[in-house]
Symmetry: C2
Subunit: 192 residues, 2 copies
Amino acid sequence: MKYKPADALNKATELFWQKGFQGTKMRDLQDKLDMRPGSIYAGFGSKEGLFLQVIDCYVEQSLKKIDDYNELAKTPLDALYNFVTDYIFVDGKLENCRVCLLVKTVSETETGPEHLHAHALAGLEKMEQKFCELFTQARQQGLLKQEANPELLGKWLQMQIMGLVMYSKNCTNKNDITMMIESVFSSFQPHV
Amino acid sequence: MKYKPADALNKATELFWQKGFQGTKMRDLQDKLDMRPGSIYAGFGSKEGLFLQVIDCYVEQSLKKIDDYNELAKTPLDALYNFVTDYIFVDGKLENCRVCLLVKTVSETETGPEHLHAHALAGLEKMEQKFCELFTQARQQGLLKQEANPELLGKWLQMQIMGLVMYSKNCTNKNDITMMIESVFSSFQPHV
DNA sequence: ACTGGACTTGAACACTTGTTCAAGTTAAAT
DNA sequence: ATTTAACTTGAACAAGTGTTCAAGTCCAGT
């Protein structure tokens, strides 16, 4: 496969993210990627194969995104805070927030194709691990109580993000969400 | 429409809940409901029409379920706690937990059919209102600080449930989830 | 110039999709 | 017994589905 897959994968990601796995039709992909069916099958094997690669690509980019935030922010906790805030307020607007592709896929394939489900779950696990990493750093820097459990905090943050993002679909009040984010992150501060 | 829709609607709910709107095919419904296409269309208008009725039915039953919990429990807070716990640990097992049909639909139709999306959101709003109701009762009974805002607590609980349920798909450790539920509900107790 | 392999094309295929409809059944009201 | 309206049936339809494949294009290595 010599085809420049980066651009194609990003376009495919956009489609799958918008419409889900089942909602995305091969014809949609053909139009969006400007590739004929044969090329897509030569390059990616099948719709499922393409989707799996899209997920890998998505996970890789998401992990990198967190690293980028971490380099820019003063502390790992700030990085996580900024990551979450920017994820929910895209261009400052709550309406632009979209459910994470992995979460969407997990929900869609709850009973569906086993390997798609497993693949999305594996991606989420990597995200959680990354959260855990940053919490570990934060503790080393004395930003958390010494007894704090980074692994548990990672799980907790993962859960909170899932809740925040899903709930943001159901909420028109920017203020409510802002308060919730504050509330989530204030629980990470060491007891004063 | 004289057809006994109760049984049919429940069976349809089961299918849509398992497979989602797009994932559920008319043939599946025909088999599960043991009805021929003409009958389904006479009774429900279309696949979308049936789905909308399924959602209404689901919301109604969910609201009633909370009322039932409220009658059985000592306090509204206990009722909510039991509701959440039983929702996540179905038959005591984390694996049996399924993403709420409304949440699943919101996620699936994020960009898709406008009215399906709106209908699911409306259902979620009713659930939130019910949570708010119970929190109001709890405050009247002195179980919450007088300054507590039941409306905000309702939103908060809605968000937390979404997070807990979605995260439970990604978690094999029953203990972790139990701790998270405790953590969520301990935040409702008045400051000691 | 020639070969060979990777990539592309677009028509075509077999199957599935949601939906329709003419014909048949039921059962209460006249 | 006749009418009427609601409901059921199941074959059929048109459109859409993921996928294939013979034929063509490209281009690096000989």
